[in-house]
Amino acid sequence: MKTSIPLNALIGMIITATIVIMAVFAPLLAPYSMTEIVGDVWEPMSSEHWLGTDTLGRDLLSRLMYGARVTLGIAALATILSFSMGTMLGLSAAAFGGWIDQTLSRLVDLLMAIPTLILALVILSVLAPSVLTLVVVMGVLDSTRVFRLVRSVGVDIAVMDFVEAARLRGEGRLWVIFREILPNALSPLVAELGLRFIFMVLFLSALSFLGLGIQPPAADWGGMVKENKDGIAFGIPAALIPAGAIAVLAISINMIADWVLNLTSSLKGGKDV
């Protein structure tokens, strides 16, 4: 088994770590506060404002750092929610089959039949905007994807003899799910975790860009693109900076996830390590 980390994954890890550190220590690292107006509208990059200023004259770098907090934080919470729900329900469906599986699967089909973004827009425009609603809506909608994956992995495991042996012993449902099936389903799930997280970042950015995500003056990256998008017509690149940040984060996490997938997929006919 090789222990060396491939270059791609290493680059991904360094970039992701940098972004996370920026987010966590934003109050210490950011040169200005998030909301303070410190200069002219859309100033170019300078030694005072490394990335220039935004549509209201706020420091773009500082907003990017605080924005990372919001983006990463909400995406992480939503991922946790979607994973816990998706895994629990997916494993139950896989372990018990029958009407439990049928009901859950058809419900998920129903949710998946409607484009996620549109469904989210409808729900969020009805409910009062808050971080909690946002996290719940994002988490629940995304858990359908996790459910599908976990169920398919779980069904493969549930027919193995050791699961049958546990059933014959008379073990309860919780034991079968959490002790017999879950530990064997973890590897493929870990890789999926990264991909779902990126999807959450993109989802949140899209919602904010459409004005239903984080409300001003607080900002996430998607919201920053929205605020500065008018500048593009005048050749001002302020909107491209948060957009680029989203892309860079997505790519770096993907590079890590690819590596994890390779490491863990030997069971599923993937690369042997």
Binding site: M160, F162, A165, R167, L168, R169, G170, E180, P183, N184
Partner: protein, 534 residues
């Protein structure tokens, strides 16, 4: 080198690439194979027999490569040959017959197209000639309607027929050498004998040379001129078939020869059976797999259930465990009828009937240690914890003849035989009165299987547990059973004490089953086939 030598292997070493120190799979094996002769390669899994067979085609699986020695085929060394040379060679001079025919055919193409593919690829014959030859070979191999069977798809013929079609595929380009890699291992014993006879006949009339790889000495004795016994990648013994079978020199060869000779004294019948299967009819959907089955198991006895695949033996196990409720009839444990569904049975009822599976690898959770696997029934059924539980785990490990420190190992760190022993310990931990053994030795090497059977017999004597022993291998039955139930297509065709079942007069099916077991003597196959044809 004489003109007659086709394949000459000298000091062959095959190793896994990139390991240090070099992990050698084959360690310095040498032999010659003359034209038209058959060499049997025999040994348990990991002996390197398939690896040597593959090397005759210049092929190494995965990261295997030839680290030293020569493989000389038709006068040239192919051990380090380039891909282009090998492509010319494979499917023209040397062909391969794999163990699993079902996995080796492309399900999307007709059989005939796959049979003649290599021949056409090498431009050896016109399509018409190749088809004619294929039909000749189908006839020689005893396939039904040889003219048209080639128009079928792989799923439209049986496993035994598919294996014969694959042999025809290998013979079609008129190669000098065929490598047979366990061609009959996956087949039922009654099918195996037909395929074996067909292969033997085809080798004879085409005068092709062959490397015949198997773990079954009785099978290889029927077909080969010479036998080489391998173990851990080294040669143990080599000689003519007569020398190896009748006058083996090495202890290991002698052990392999004595494998099927184990005997078991039948125990006298008792008054009350521990398990009574009464008038059971069961199946899936509308189809009945089991039809009015009656049998009973005495305490401390072994009832062997014998039959080919599809005879319903495993379905019977599912009925007994409650995974498949019967349509009619019931299962009675110590005079109390068991609820038909497993979920309706009490914990105590579940404890009394335990199960051991065929594939020990998948019968254990790979994320649990041996200690956790054996310990769970102790906690679950008896509430044992802490030191008491630890002490009982050690006791059980001792009973299955494994060291105590195995408790901290994971299943992946055990050998096949050790895994099966742990499964036995898990069943035993529940202190059951009945253990269902579902083909528990089928996936194991003969010597390892013998060890497992001996352990089961010892444990039965000590613990007084009864076995419902499901198997397709009659040699195993002789070694362990007190009574025997022969099943065929869901019916019980013969049932009674061992002596009665294994002695004449026989019904037709039992006779066929009994005569199909390979015997460890030269000429057995010819005798049986002669008998069948009269």
């Amino acid at each position: 080198m004489s003109d007659e030598t086709l394949l000459k292997i000298r000091d062959l070493e095959i190793a896994v690439e990139g390991t240090s120190p070099l992990l050698k799979i084959v360690k310095g094996v040498s032999f010659d194979l003359e034209k038209g002769k058959v060499m049997g390669l025999i040994g348990e899994s990991g002996a390197g027999k398939s690896t040597i067979g593959m090397s005759a085609m210049g092929y190494g699986r995965g990261k295997l490569h030839t680290s030293a020695g020569q493989v000389i085929l038709n006068g040239r060394d192919i051990a380090q040959a380039k891909r282009g040379v090998l492509n010319q060679l494979r499917g023209k001079e040397v062909c391969y017959v794999a163990q699993s025919a079902a996995a080796s055919f492309n399900p999307a193409h007709k059989l005939i197209d796959q049979v003649i593919e290599a021949t056409l690829e090498h431009g050896l014959m016109s399509a018409h000639e190749a088809r004619t030859r294929a039909v000749e070979l189908f006839t020689a191999l005893g396939l039904p309607s040889p003219e048209t069977i080639g128009d079928r798809y792989p799923h439209q013929v049986s496993g035994g027929q598919l294996q014969r079609v694959m042999t025809a595929m290998a013979l079609c380009p008129k190669p000098d050498l065929i490598v047979f890699d366990e061609p009959t291992t996956a087949l039922d014993v009654t099918t195996q004998i037909e395929v074996l006879a067909a292969i033997k006949h085809a080798i004879k009339i085409t005068n092709v040379a062959a490397l015949y790889i198997t773990h079954d000495l009785a099978v290889v004795a029927q077909i080969s001129d010479e036998i080489m016994v391998l173990r851990h990648g080294e040669m143990v013994e080599k000689g003519t078939t007569d020398q190896i079978i009748n006058d083996p020199q090495q202890d290991y060869t002698k052990a392999l020869l004595s494998v099927r000779s184990a005997q078991h004294e039948e125990k006298p019948a008792t008054e009350k059976p521990v398990l009574d299967i009464s008038n059971v009819t069961a199946g899936y959907g509308k189809i009945d797999i089991l039809k009015s089955i009656n049998m009973s198991l005495d305490p401390g006895h072994t009832l062997a259930i014998v039959g080919e695949s599809g005879s319903g033996k495993s379905t019977l196990a599912r009925v007994v465990t409650g995974l498949l409720p019967p349509r009619i009839g019931n299962v009675v444990f110590e005079n109390t009828p068991l609820p038909p569904k497993q979920t309706q049975r009490s914990r105590e009822q579940l404890r009394e009937i335990q199960m051991i599976y065929q594939m020990a690898d998948v019968a254990m959770n790979p994320r649990q240690t041996v200690g956790q696997i054996i310990g769970r029934p102790l906690t679950f059924y008896f509430g044992l914890r802490g030191a008491k539980r630890q002490a009982r785990i050690e006791e059980l490990l001792h009973a299955i003849e494994l060291p105590v420190d195995f408790a901290d190992r994971y299943p992946a760190e055990l050998s096949g035989g050790q895994k099966q022993r742990v499964c036995i310990a898990r069943a035993l931990a529940a202190k059951p009165k009945v253990i269902i053994c579902d083909e528990v030795t089928s996936a194991l090497d003969p010597l390892v299987a013998e060890g497992i059977l001996k352990l089961l017999a010892d444990l039965q004597e000590r613990e007084g547990v009864a076995y419902l022993f499901i198997t397709h291998d009659l040699a195993t039955v002789k070694a362990i059973a007190d009574s025997i139930a022969v099943m065929h297509q869901g019916n019980l065709v013969r049932y009674g004490p061992k002596r009665q079942v294994l002695n004449p007069p026989f019904d037709a099916y039992t006779d066929k089953l009994l005569t199909s077991i390979p015997e460890m003597r030269i000429g057995w196959l010819d005798d049986v086939m002669a008998e069948h044809s009269t």
